[in-house]
Symmetry: C2
Subunit: 322 residues, 2 copies
DNA sequence: TTGTACGCGTTATCAT
DNA sequence: ATGATAACGCGTACAA
């Protein structure tokens, strides 16, 4: 690939002059400009971004770290982020932690090696103090998306509130016992459980951790077998929700008359499922926009500033499943 | 971020010695090694990959260009590629063309600016001679995934054959008229239509281009209203298939007794749909593996070699929908 | 307006 | 075994 120096030789000018022309400086003889541009075009000159990044201050690279890109929600998020970043001339280095903290650490090292200007991250365990300590030492601007981490820029939907909202809805619709599919430290479960406890239904709520379909099936069967009335099930994400719907179907349990299901993320497929999935919708595009804006702002003005905590409203999209 | 030169100063050795230690050269005094490593660890040294890339011959960066990362199939593909590349120490710069050829061109420029070692691409219109010309001028190793482009390394499933397979299946199951959801230049349609024509059913097959749900609904309604017996519908991808299933449900048409549906990509959600979606499965992991292997091979041995044309077998996963 | 000189952080080559 | 030194391609300061 041709370089400025080579163009300089070919056109008989100095390399800095080529640089000036290519960067649109006005103080250049029109004739030289012409020659240089023609040569650059002919050889399809492309700036060496590594050289620029090495000597200059910006690489125009952003790291994006997600837990699972094959999850439609994160795929969508990544897409929006990419679109948004592109508007400012940024490119994306994508990483997938696969919910493995070791991968996460490695990636954060890689990202720094490439001297990315900043990172947008969906951390695995954002609440751990360890994570916050680690991030702060990184001295790379970093914004959490979809997750709240105290002391760090965070743009997210309030999972606690979302969980509470789901609990309200299920209780209101007459469900009598409640199940959350996911880990007990999930903030959604916190809000879900708390709200149900306030209603005196704490004893009737539990959670099941998803491992695989067979285990989910078994756990659901056991839980449903015990008496207790209509079951309101809140799934930690739409994928779990879809699997729960499937399990219920194979158990011969009618939805929503015998059991209701509410998902999380409002993945696009939700509206095509049978029954159509009720789900908590997150404003993906808005989160991406805000997060990129904040990150670019941090990059542009590196002064110390208090962390941004921007909780956004999730909304419950009620369809057929609950 | 600390550099080799700084470590050199702190430990009182020369910068090349630091380089040797950090790169694991054996010809280093154990005592110096110790000091250097300790210092590097203390300051959390991270190699400057830009400097290395600038000077050396490898950036350890791969470009990945897909048409739509929010499509579960491509998201999955990207994930597999990333996992595979990581095994060889490569990181991924992700691009989304969004089916816009202009984006595609821009991205290929960006990719070259960052001096990626190679590119894995799902081109928008791989058949156009323009594309092939362009790629050849790029002088960046490039492998097509999921698409066949003559004269370029291509790893893909044979869409013509896949379409034929679907036609066979639908005809065998007693469907009497046939619809393809997608563009008429889609190779799947080519194989689908050809096979049906061979069976004397050419007059009973048509295609509908998906634009939006309302239009799909209308088109389906019109097509189904005309007489002709059981309808076998082949959707260009699982997303379309899901929408078709939904449309059929709202039209009150029973699946698969009145109409059958077969998707494409065998997205993970397929097995949870109601009815479970029959779909053509592509060996994603295998494609990712082969493609990355081929690309790394090209990178490692840049000599001219004839292009690789590797068609893989798609398989029909028969579930409930057809 | 244009050119010379230098530095960014690394690897590689050559002495020592 | 270790240290000078050059080179990669760019932007920038300074000189002309």
């Amino acid at each position: 690939m041709i370089t400025m120096t080579e163009i300089a030789k070919l056109t008989g000018v100095s390399q800095p002059t080529v640089s000036r022309v290519l960067n649109g400086s006005q103080n250049v003889d029109p004739e030289l400009r012409e020659r240089v541009l023609a040569c650059a075009k002919e050889h399809d000159y492309q700036l060496n971004a590594l050289a620029k990044g090495l000597q200059g201050r910006r690489t125009k690279l952003l790291g994006v770290l997600v837990t699972d890109i094959s999850n439609g929600f994160f795929a969508d998020l990544a897409k929006q982020i990419e679109m948004e970043a592109r508007k400012s001339g940024y490119s994306i280095i994508l990483f997938n932690s696969d919910y493995n903290p070791q991968n996460e650490r490695e990636y954060l090292d890689v990202v720094r090696r490439y001297r990315v200007d900043g990172v947008l991250a969906v951390p695995i365990r954002e609440t751990s103090g360890e994570w916050q300590e680690y991030v702060k030492k990184l001295d790379v601007p970093m914004v959490m998306v979809t997750r709240q981490a105290r002391g760090l820029d965070s743009i997210y939907v309030d999972h606690v509130q979302a969980g509470a909202m789901v609990a309200e809805h299920l209780a209101e619709r007459g469900f009598q016992r409640f199940l959350f599919i996911g880990r007990d430290y999930d903030r959604k479960y916190t809000g879900f459980r708390r709200t149900l406890e306030e209603k005196g239904l704490g004893g009737r709520t539990a959670n099941v951790v998803y491992q695989d379909d067979a285990q989910l099936n078994q756990a659901l069967r056991d839980w449903l077998r015990s008496p207790g009335g209509r079951a309101g099930i809140f799934a930690g994400n739409d994928i779990y929700a879809m699997r729960v719907l499937d399990a219920l179907r194979s158990l011969g349990i009618a939805v929503p008359s015998e059991a209701g299901v509410i998902g999380f993320d409002d993945t696009s497929m939700g509206r095509y499922l049978n029954p159509r999935l009720s789900s908590v919708s997150q404003p993906i595009a808005r989160m991406a926009r805000e997060a990129v804006a904040r990150l670019l702002d941090r990059i542009g003005r590196p002064e110390e500033r208090p962390p941004l905590d921007l909780p956004l409203q999730a909304s419950l999209v009620v369809r057929e499943s609950a």
